[in-house]
């Protein structure tokens, strides 16, 4: 599903976020990426979603080299991903419901069916009662779960999450972790960057240190 082949990423002034990173994930895997702040976890996630391009090496997603993807092919990669970024990128002028609806509007999903899916996704993360609220009216944990609902509403085969449990109390964090476990059990490939590796005791872990994989 995902393969990194000696991937390096250097940001403009000369910061090496990742160097010679190689790893592989098969479909249905769950992989936790951990490491200190600045280790390159977010960079890894962004490379998979083709938000950043590798400086060298190849990032393969579903057999496709996403580093060389054309602008016009990019949307169709993104549609196959569920993406939860570290800054959740919610739209604060739209209701909870509309935020989750957005991915389905983008793919041109029939409206009626789309609404059912949105409700199901919100129900899944425990936000069914808040669909009319604006994101600003949600707590940090609720916003986090809203971002997850938006990522999974189109039922992607691959779910990427960057610090989905950051700033959450232990109980809420465990709740969120359980949601990801459920998706994993349903066959979704799950890649999570997190400090809270202990929330996913059964998952394989990739530990990063200054952009390098350590055992």
């Amino acid at each position: 599903m995902i393969r990194f082949d000696r991937v390096a990423k250097r940001y403009p002034p000369g910061i090496d976020a990742l160097s010679a990173l190689s790893f592989e994930m098969t479909a249905g895997d769950m992989l936790i990426v951990s490491g200190h702040s600045g280790a390159g976890k977010s960079t890894l996630i962004k490379l998979v979603a083709a938000i950043e391009k590798p400086t060298s090496g190849a990032v393969l997603v579903g057999g496709q080299n996403v580093g060389t993807l054309s602008r016009s092919a990019l949307p169709f990669l993104r549609r196959r991903l569920g993406l939860v970024l570290q800054d959740q990128k919610l739209l604060f002028d739209r209701s909870v419901f509309e935020n989750v609806m957005l991915p389905l509007s983008i793919t041109g999903f029939p409206p009626k069916e789309a609404m059912q899916r949105v409700r199901a996704a919100l129900d899944k993360v425990g936000l069914a009662m808040r669909e009319k609220a604006l994101p600003i009216a949600l707590s940090g944990g609720e916003q986090q779960r809203l971002a997850i609902a938006r990522a999974v509403v189109s039922r992607p085969a691959l779910l990427l999450a960057d610090e989905p449990t950051a700033h959450l109390d232990a109980e809420t964090a465990a709740d969120v972790a359980r949601i990801f476990h459920e998706f994993h059990r349903a066959g979704v490939t799950v890649l999570i960057a997190t400090y809270d590796g202990h929330l996913f005791p059964d998952a394989r872990t990739l530990r990063l240190d200054h952009g390098c994989s350590v055992a």
């Binding site: 479909a27 249905g28 979603a49 938000i51 602008r71 016009s72 990019l74 949307p75 169709f76 990669l77 993104r78 549609r79 196959r80 991903l81 993406l83 970024l85 990128k89 919610l90 739209l91 604060f92 957005l102 991915p103 509007s105 983008i106 793919t107 041109g108 999903f109 029939p110 409206p111 069916e113 899916r117 199901a120 129900d123 899944k124 993360v125 425990g126 938006r150 999974v152 189109s154 039922r155 992607p156 085969a157 709740d175 359980r178 949601i179 459920e182 998706f183 059990r185 349903a186 066959g187 979704v188 490939t189």
Partner: protein, 320 residues
């Protein structure tokens, strides 16, 4: 939180809705149109001012076109085919006139001819009191025999040739084409038409500039939405469509505003113009834009709005 239900699956197979591309197309365009309309209504004052700016810009060339069409209609209703006046020499004699009449009759380019004997002319002129005093003083009839000739052709070039030919004929003193004023007016009309086209071109660029700027502001205010949509897999088309519809709608509504301005102006000017023309013994009623011109106005306005939006998006989406 509920236990896992059946809905989560679908990890491999992709959205069933892709089987109906026509539906997607409709849903997408309907959505874009709705968003564009909502954005227009959301800021009524801005929309109103934009419409006024676009409407006035379009009303100038379109109004010019309307006036020109009316002038042309007026000309068509008054100036019949131009006539050529052929004056004989005063001393030509009736024999020469009969000869000339026969010659004109045979001429293939002549449609009609009317003989004006010099005696009749004298009588007609004497009817005017002021002239009679002068004429009475003169020893002889100062007026020549004359013919009023209507040609088959009405192109200025052909008529000029005909005039030249008549001038060569014996005993002909003077030939006059009485369409000079009409031709001057026609030349003026042609010039005016070019001015209208020039004005139209300039204001079209102005309209594109107006929508360009409006869409630029729209893109700025919707920057977050655009970024998120791109992250979620929106194509460029999906992102641009509401803005394009916005530009097109703005153009269309601006065109409609221009149409209303012109119709109002025509209605307002109709009565005083009627009265004026009545003094010149014309019966004429000012018409607003024709159906074709109206459709053209709306179509061009819509297209220009769309184009302005397209150019703006090309400029401002590249950097996001």
């Amino acid at each position: 939180m509920r236990e896992r239900s059946a809905w989560i699956t679908d990890a491999q197979s992709h959205d069933g809705c892709l089987e109906f591309p026509m539906n997607i197309w409709l849903v997408n365009h309907g959505r874009a149109l709705r968003i564009a309309l909502r954005r227009l209504i959301a800021a009524p004052l801005t929309t109103l001012l934009s419409l006024l700016a676009i409407g006035v810009a379009l009303a100038l060339p379109a109004g010019g076109q309307m006036l020109l069409n009316n002038v042309q209609r007026l000309m068509g209703s008054t100036s019949a085919t131009p006539q050529i006046s052929v004056f004989m020499a005063v001393d030509a004699g009736r024999g020469a006139a009969t000869e000339l009449a026969a010659r004109l009759k045979k001429h293939p380019a002549v449609k009609q001819q009317r003989f004006l004997p010099r005696e009749d002319t004298l009588q007609r002129m004497k009817a005017n009191a002021g002239l009679r005093e002068i004429i009475d003083v003169l020893p002889d009839n100062p007026f020549p025999d004359a013919f009023i000739v209507t040609a088959i052709a009405d192109q200025p070039a052909t008529l000029d040739l005909l005039v030249e030919e008549f001038r060569q004929w014996p005993k002909v003193a003077h030939v006059q084409l009485d369409s000079a004023w009409a031709r001057r007016l026609e030349a003026l009309l042609r010039l005016s038409r070019n001015v209208v086209i020039l004005l139209g071109g300039l204001l079209a660029i102005g309209l594109i500039a107006i929508t360009f700027n409006i869409i630029r502001m729209q893109v700025l205010t919707h920057r977050a939405e655009i970024e998120v949509s791109q992250l979620l897999g929106a194509t460029n088309g999906f992102i641009c469509r509401p803005f394009l519809y916005f530009g097109a709608l703005l153009g269309f509504a601006g065109g409609a505003t221009a149409w209303l301005l012109i119709a109002a102006a025509a209605w307002w000017l109709r009565t005083p113009l009627d009265d004026l023309l009545h003094l010149y013994e014309f019966t004429f009623s000012l018409q607003s834009l024709s159906l074709v011109d109206s459709a053209l106005l709306l179509g061009i306005a819509t297209g220009l709005g769309w184009l302005g939006a397209l150019l703006s998006l090309g400029q401002h989406l590249r950097h996001s």
